[in-house]
């Protein structure tokens, strides 16, 4: 008996090692297929063990992952973005806010699709004037593209980052919300490891996702198990007819929105990136094959824009250039 247990433990250790090499989650190991010859005397104790999964995640079982539907990202994530957790979604510049918000809304739409009967609202918290800076959520566009109706959206405009964090903490523990988006600009000092851990823990207990949208931010240590860095990608072209796979692309048109998503932090610590495309019709992500453009010189052009300086936790943070312009002072170009 003890020997059998030892043998099994050895097998598990080996599988864990294989998983590590393969870059899969060690926690999500398939139980060994039952073979009475390999472990004599153990067979009757674990019937139907062939397709069972071991998910050891602080005792929470069940469908706790939100698959993106793109294997290039789902596999390194170990199946998808964790549902009962905080997930960081980064955008490098403020002007990428549309792409970042689009990706987050796509995730939200996928999460809402998992529970169609659910009618709990989505709370979108903006810290310190992010809505003025990066634009308000525009429900006609969001409804058309992501299928989230206006009556399921709640907007919270916090004046300061402390207020936003307070609201987020109060709301994160509340099961009455389907999911939460917390949008923060830059790298505020208040949003440190402790604050994110509090948010993450509350989201875990409430059992639903909290997407932390960080616009114009650099990666900092946080408690979020998954960090995705999102940047815009040139979209494909519009398909004229669904039935014709590639013949009927409308040249020069702007197709479904595309984003480049890079996993910079996950449980497996496997870096991965992929270009995703949101399909309005399927309401799902799909991988976008690169280089489907013909001529026209659309490829990767150099980024000529002025890049905002990151404000960091230093005695004298560098002035942000061009990142925050929705203020009273008159910009130079408007003179």
């Amino acid at each position: 008996m003890a020997q059998a247990a030892l043998a099994r433990e050895g097998l598990f250790a080996l599988r864990r090692e294989i998983a590590r090499i393969e870059g899969r989650l060690a926690e999500r190991l398939e139980l060994p297929v039952f073979d009475p010859r390999s472990i004599p005397g153990e067979g009757k104790a674990v019937p139907n063990a062939g397709d069972a999964m071991v998910v050891r995640r602080s005792g929470i079982a069940g469908p706790a992952l939100l698959p993106l539907g793109v294997p290039a990202l789902d596999d390194p994530l170990g199946g998808g973005v964790p549902l009962a957790a905080m997930t960081e979604i980064h955008g490098a510049q403020m002007r990428d806010a549309g792409a970042v918000a689009g990706f987050a809304l796509g995730l939200a739409a996928l999460a809402l699709k998992q529970a169609p009967a659910d009618d709990r609202p989505v709370l979108w918290i903006s810290a310190a004037g992010m809505f003025a800076e990066a634009g308000e959520p525009y429900m006609p566009g969001i409804l058309a593209r992501y299928g989230i109706p206006a009556e399921r959206m709640l907007l919270c405009r916090a004046q300061r980052i402390e207020q936003a964090l307070w609201v987020a903490e109060e709301a994160a523990a509340l099961p009455a919300l389907a999911l939460m988006l917390l949008e923060v600009g830059g790298t505020p000092k208040k949003l440190d490891l402790t604050a994110t851990r509090r948010l993450h823990r509350r989201a875990q207990i409430a059992g639903r996702p909290l997407f932390l949208l960080r616009q114009s931010a650099v990666a900092e240590p946080t408690a979020a198990p998954v960090r995705l860095e999102v940047s815009p990608a040139p979209a494909g072209e519009r398909q004229l007819l669904q039935s014709l796979p590639d013949a009927a692309l409308l040249e020069g048109s702007i197709g479904p929105p595309a984003v480049k998503v890079a996993i910079t932090r996950s449980r497996t610590n496997m870096p991965a990136s992929a270009t995703l495309e949101w399909s309005d019709d399927a309401r799902a992500f799909r991988a976008r094959e690169p280089a489907i453009r013909g001529s026209g010189g659309v490829g990767r052009a150099a980024d000529h824009g002025t890049v905002a300086a990151f404000s960091q936790d230093r005695p004298h943070p560098a002035a942000e250039v061009g990142a925050r312009l929705a203020s009273n002072r008159k910009p130079s170009w408007a003179a």
Binding site: P121, A144, L155, V167
Partner: protein, 491 residues
């Protein structure tokens, strides 16, 4: 010793005395005298300019303070207060004791006050103003009391007063004896109404300054409190008392007010609203906790609060509901309502909003923000059907819309009515790789006549794949150059 005090006001070209203190009165000065004359008579005078706004504020704060006696307080002119003490006197040991208490407390605050208690508003007014020591007017004794008083005690216009005196009617008693019909014909019905009101023949209601609370509980404290924690504890205790009253009425509170009466006469009020009828004392206490945190330092206890009152300003029916074991959706809606109330109590009413889609083709009007309410409103506009079903709406809209369109520098468009080749937005240059458009959106001429121009919207993708929603206002080749604006992101 302080010099005699005069309050002056400008009357035409002259600066005249409006009010004087006792010492100035002892010198023989009178209101109405010119300030220059008074200075000529007495060199050492302290003259201050009258400030009617501050006087008004002072009177209002006194009215607030009188709220401790009765919720029905009203201002009377510039220097009087009405207190409707019907049904309140037993709490203060009877009418006479109550009057003494009011006057003594006001005197301690430094006010020289005269007061009277009577069955009618008119009689009390006359007694308080025309008898040096005011006092009680017995029910039925109004006629005997006001009979010998001059006509001004009737609260009638000075012009009518003068005309009455012109025909020899100098006292109220004269009018009471005179035949009514000729009086009404010559001097107007208002005179007789005032007389009847003073005598109690016609009802006169005091219209209170503040809305009267449906329910209120208060606690008078022997030892004044000043700590926020104590106020919170007390509000929870008061809410507990209140909840039994609300339960008996089958109601819940929608608006609650906590009034804190300071030892030195100041009154501070905190108000919270509830999205759903509320009865649970813990919830009420939590709302006031958020409010107290939000108010923070603005609460000034001074020497402490001696009376704390919790009033219900608005109620709504709240039926007792039996909870199911699963703890269904009602619970979650209630949680959400409580969260919304707490956010609003601490951060203001605009903190939580609900976007509502409106039937308008103008992008900025197609969405409106409304304060969050329970139940969450469904889509408002029936005519807005095409907006509700996303598939039948061919025009693509951005995911984010800037609250105000931001001007964009466009050097040139490739073709006059076409998209820009490049543009500068927020100091960064964007090269347009692909564009779709224009989508022409005309202004709503039935709402904003003739001023607005129609816009041509373009969906634009730059070299990195960022998607923008730009528009051009005006046309090339016209007198004014067209202007370009950034309106949305993620188009």
């Amino acid at each position: 010793m302080r010099p005699p005090l005069l309050v002056s006001h400008r009357d035409g070209q002259a600066q005249r005395i409006l009010a004087i203190d006792e010492r100035a009165g002892a010198l023989g000065l009178k209101p109405g005298l010119g300030v220059a004359d008074a200075r000529a008579m007495h060199s050492c005078l302290d003259v201050v300019e009258a400030d009617p706004v501050a006087d008004r504020r002072c009177l209002e704060s006194l009215a607030d303070w009188c709220d401790r006696y009765t919720p029905l307080t009203a201002l009377d002119g510039d220097d009087g207060l009405f207190l409707d003490i019907t049904g309140c006197t037993h709490l203060f040991g009877g009418e006479e004791a109550m009057l003494r208490d009011v006057l003594a407390r006001l005197r301690r605050q430094g006010f020289d006050t005269r007061g009277a208690v009577a069955s009618t508003v008119g009689a009390a007014w006359a007694a308080a103003r025309f008898f040096p020591d005011g006092g009680l007017v017995e029910p039925g004794g109004e006629a005997r009391l006001i009979g010998p008083l001059p006509l001004a005690a009737l609260r009638i216009e000075p012009a009518i007063c003068l005309r009455l005196e012109g025909v020899g009617l100098r006292k109220i008693g004269d009018i009471m004896k005179a035949p009514r019909a000729p009086l009404a014909r010559r001097f107007g019905a208002a005179l007789l109404v005032r007389l009847d009101q003073a005598l109690g023949a016609v009802e006169e209601a005091v219209s209170p300054r503040l809305p009267v609370a449906d329910l209120s509980v208060e606690r008078i404290l022997a030892e004044p409190i000043s700590l926020v924690d104590d106020i919170e504890k007390l509000s929870a205790a008061l809410a507990r008392v209140l909840s039994t009253d609300l339960e008996r009425r089958g109601e819940g509170a929608r608006r609650l007010q906590l009034s804190l009466f300071r030892l030195d006469g100041g009154v501070q009020r905190l108000e919270v609203g509830a999205s759903q009828p509320l009865r649970d004392p813990d919830f009420v206490a939590r709302l006031f906790h958020e409010k107290l945190v939000a108010v923070g330092e603005a609460i000034d206890p001074g020497y402490g609060f001696e009376l704390v009152r919790l009033s219900v300003l608005g109620t709504a029916p709240l039926a007792e509901e039996q909870a199911d074991f699963a703890g269904g959706s009602e619970r979650s809606v209630a949680d959400l309502a409580l969260l919304a109330d707490r956010l609003r109590a601490r951060l203001g009413d605009a903190i939580l909003e609900q976007p509502v889609m409106v039937a308008s083709h103008l992008p900025e009007r197609a969405q409106r923000s409304e304060p969050f309410s329970v139940p969450i409103p469904a889509a408002r506009d029936v005519e807005n059907g095409h907006m509700q079903s996303s598939r039948s709406n061919p025009a693509e809209r951005p995911v984010r819309l800037l609250p105000r369109p931001e001007p964009v520098d466009v050097a040139a468009a490739e073709v006059p009515e076409g998209p820009p080749a490049s543009f500068r937005w927020r100091r960064a240059l964007h090269r347009v790789m692909r564009a779709e458009g224009p989508e022409r959106i005309a202004p709503e001429w039935w709402r904003q006549p003739a001023k607005a121009e129609s816009r041509d919207y373009f969906r634009v993708e730059d070299e990195a794949g960022r998607r923008y929603w730009l528009y051009r206002e005006g046309f090339y080749g016209t007198a004014s150059a067209p202007r370009w604006y950034m309106h949305g992101l993620g188009a």
